[in-house]
């Protein structure tokens, strides 16, 4: 499936198909610039209280400018629900993060008190605080994963249920299977935490699992999306990207070795070069090394992003509908470099231009076939009611941005 020749072949095939329809994006920089400016001004003037409205309007603008066969998408979230939700989340997360310190302190002093009264354990006293704070830290990490997964799941459900095309709502999971969905989210977030521990070896599996989760629970009306890629597909993809990562790893290792050597030689980091020490030449190499590995790292991430998107869309189905995505690594890289430069040079004012340009590129290279099948989707009456009932969980929306892979 992932062999380059087959990819090119299938791209050609999808282009040949007469009934294939491309996503259009008709957003304009000038238009979005004004919306962005009004959002920014009102958010600033209201000390951030306007932000939920700004978010809904922005999302709605981008979705309504995304069209298939001249019909736009729509987003009908209630900013008031978001506002209340963000308050609850803000207060809740602050309380959670502060209460862990308090709890650790309380537990530590209680344990110390016990040890003192039991006597003969005074040697252990020094261990109490680190042990207790470690235990509390782990417990709160677990609690946070639980809470965060619930929020992420609800956010996905809420946003899907508020997004519609041709007045037919999307959906994510179902109310009855909510707890099963939660369990899967907990598992996925936990798995993500393990990726660094596995030195990245788990990444292909996690990438596959996460995409499958996002796609196969989604539905348009009553029709569910399906995802047919296998973990092996993603493993192959990451394996083929690995050679691009090698020079970066080598340079990182080399810089590390140089750094250690420099430390051993001079014992310390000097603020200014001291006469007689070849400080400048040693230190000058490090940024140079970083500079050579940075473009390669960027290329690697762009290549992976483009290929993973193409694989994901190719293996996604909605009823009869199939998808294709033709992002190119080189184009993504060029866009990212250009946009980064322009953003810095314009002091951030070019943000609307960057966002419109990037969205247009990404969306216009996704196509559906056969496009003729767009009329046949149905909504069941009870699904619409359940979608409305989700309005109360809008607080989950705040987490949505974190996990938006724009699949």
């Amino acid at each position: 499936m992932t062999h380059p020749a087959t990819v090119a072949q299938s791209d050609r095939d999808s282009r040949r198909e007469a009934a294939s329809v491309e996503l259009e994006f008709s957003g304009r920089t000038g238009e979005y610039f004004q919306i962005w400016l009004v959002n920014l001004a009102l958010s600033l003037a209201s000390c951030g209280a306007y932000m939920p409205w700004a978010r809904v309007r922005t999302r709605r603008y981008f979705l309504s400018q995304t069209r298939i066969k001249a019909s736009g998408f729509d987003y009908q979230a209630n900013p008031w629900a978001l506002f209340v939700g963000w308050l609850v989340i803000g207060v809740g997360l602050t309380l959670l993060s502060n209460s862990s310190d308090l709890l650790a302190m309380g537990l530590a002093s209680a344990t110390k008190f016990l040890l003192k009264n039991l006597g003969s354990f005074s040697k252990l006293e020094g261990l109490v605080e680190p042990m207790v704070s470690l235990g509390v830290g782990i417990a709160f990490l677990l609690l946070q994963v639980l809470v965060l997964s619930w929020l992420v799941m609800q956010s996905l459900r809420y946003n899907a249920s508020k997004t519609s095309y041709r007045n037919l709502r999307f959906g994510f999971g179902s109310s009855e299977a909510r707890f099963r969905l939660w369990r899967e989210t907990v598992f996925l977030l936990g798995l993500r935490l393990l990726v660094p521990l596995s030195l990245g070896l788990l990444q292909p599996y996690v990438a596959w699992r996460w995409r499958r989760f996002l796609i196969r629970h989604r539905r348009f009306g009553t029709t569910p999306f399906a995802f047919t890629a296998t973990p092996a597909d993603f493993l192959r993809l990451h394996g083929r990207a690995f050679p691009l990562l090698l020079p970066a790893i080598a340079t990182l290792a080399l810089s590390g070795a140089l750094l250690i050597m420099a430390i051993i030689k001079f014992r310390q980091f000097s603020v200014a070069p001291v006469a007689g020490e070849p400080l400048v030449s040693t230190w000058a190499i490090l940024p140079l090394l970083a500079l050579t590995s940075l473009p390669l790292l960027l290329l690697w991430s762009c290549w992976l992003e483009a290929r993973a998107a193409s694989l994901t869309w190719r293996c996604t189905q909605l009823g009869e509908l199939r998808f294709a995505c033709t992002w190119r690594a080189r184009e993504l890289l060029g866009m990212r470099l250009l946009h980064g430069l322009v953003l810095v040079a314009s002091l951030g004012l070019a943000w609307p231009w960057v966002r419109i340009r990037e969205t247009r590129y990404r969306l216009q290279r996704i196509s559906l076939s056969p496009g003729l099948a767009l009329d046949g989707f149905l909504a069941a009456e009870e699904e619409r009611i359940s979608a409305l009932a989700e309005g109360g969980f809008a607080e989950a929306d705040a987490m949505d941005g974190l996990f938006d892979i724009s699949f």
């Binding site: 957003g27 304009r28 238009e31 979005y32 610039f33 004004q34 919306i35 400016l37 009004v38 920014l40 001004a41 009102l42 600033l44 003037a45 951030g48 309007r57 922005t58 709605r60 603008y61 309504s64 400018q65 019909s71 736009g72 729509d74 095309y165 041709r166 007045n167 037919l168 348009f220 009306g221 810095v344 002091l347 951030g348 767009l374 009329d375 046949g376 989707f377 149905l378 909504a379 009456e381 619409r384």
Partner: protein, 334 residues
């Protein structure tokens, strides 16, 4: 097409089918929906017209979950314009689609930022500062002195007699200082900061050996008066509070790792610092007058320090201290 007819696409909300329709405004004020097998009429009161952000067709919500994306020339919107619920959305849409709206937004954003930075944050900092007990401020000063002692200072190597002379100068200033100001002198030697004097929270003045050696007694008195000016207006605490407030505000705007916001934060802190320097300069000149001394030594030591360290040609925007010329001009020295 008749004048009171509007074309559109109807979506019933039960399937993804698009039905081309016409919406007809009837003489009795009702709207008629006609197209395909559809023919429904509804009173205006049961309908809702909604404009998505930007340039897009308005959406007419039909009772029962149906929706018409309708080609409106403004007349349909006018029918719904008198409803109170549509006032704010229409205002927003106007601002988002007109030049004047963009200009207004720009002014509002700039005004809010300028107001917060010039008025709001300093006001907030001075309020918090007023609520903070002097003991807490003193503790803060002790903590930062302890930190500096570890990082940059070694104990003073000046002779006892020379140290006593500096202490006596501080006592002179203390004698004419306001009631609440409690000054404490700490002498230190430092290779890092060279000839310098600083003011820490709680009225702790630090003077380095190099400065004592560089300055005449009158000049030293002037420098101490300047630092006492900082202490009198609680500048170190204010600076701490303001920079925290700035960091917080910047964080709230989502800019923790945004280099542009970091730069703006630095420039603002520098401007706060320069304001404080001018205020301390004015205070120093006033104190010297009260002690029947000329302010001239203050400017001569500034010149000396400049020669000692070498002048910089950087624009004042990038500096925490104003240039000597500017300080001299603003503090009224000649």
């Amino acid at each position: 097409m008749r004048v009171d007819e509007f074309e559109g696409l109807y979506f019933d909300g039960r399937s993804s089918r698009a039905v081309p329709v016409v919406v007809v405004l009837l003489p009795n004020g009702q709207l008629l929906l006609r197209g395909g097998e559809l023919e429904q009429r509804q009173p205006l009161a049961l309908l809702r017209l909604e404009q998505p952000p930007g340039r897009a067709r308005p959406r007419l919500h039909w009772p029962g979950g149906g929706l018409v994306e309708v080609n409106d020339d403004g007349r349909l919107a006018a029918l719904f314009a008198r409803r109170p619920a549509t006032v704010l959305p229409r205002l927003l849409h106007w601002a988002e689609t007109h030049r004047a709206g963009a200009l207004g937004a720009l002014l509002l954003a700039g005004g809010t930022i300028a107001g917060a930075v010039l008025g709001g944050l300093p006001l907030l900092a001075s309020l918090v500062g007023a609520l903070l007990p002097p003991a807490a401020e003193r503790q803060l000063g002790e903590a930062s002195l302890a930190g500096l002692d570890q990082e940059a200072f070694v104990p003073s190597r000046l002779a006892e007699a020379q140290q006593q002379r500096v202490h006596k100068l501080v006592a002179n200033i203390q004698a004419i200082a306001p009631e609440h100001l409690r000054l404490r002198l700490e002498l230190r030697d430092s290779a890092t900061i060279g000839a310098n004097a600083l003011c820490l929270p709680g009225g702790i003045l630090v003077v380095t050996d190099a400065l004592v050696k560089l300055a005449t007694e009158d000049e030293l008195l002037a420098v101490l008066a300047h630092e006492a000016g900082h202490a009198q207006h609680r500048h170190p605490l204010q600076m701490l509070l303001r920079s925290h407030a700035l960091a917080l505000a910047s964080g709230l705007m989502g800019g923790q790792d945004n280099p542009i916001q970091g730069l703006a934060q630095n420039l603002l802190q520098n401007s706060y610092s320069r304001t404080f320097e001018h205020q301390a300069d004015r205070e120093a000149v006033a104190m010297l007058r009260r002690l029947n001394r000329s302010p001239a030594p203050f400017f001569s030591i500034l010149t000396k320090l400049e020669e000692h360290e070498g002048t910089t040609q950087l624009p004042s925007l990038l500096l925490t201290h104003p240039s000597r010329r500017e300080r001299q001009a603003r503090a009224g020295g000649s």
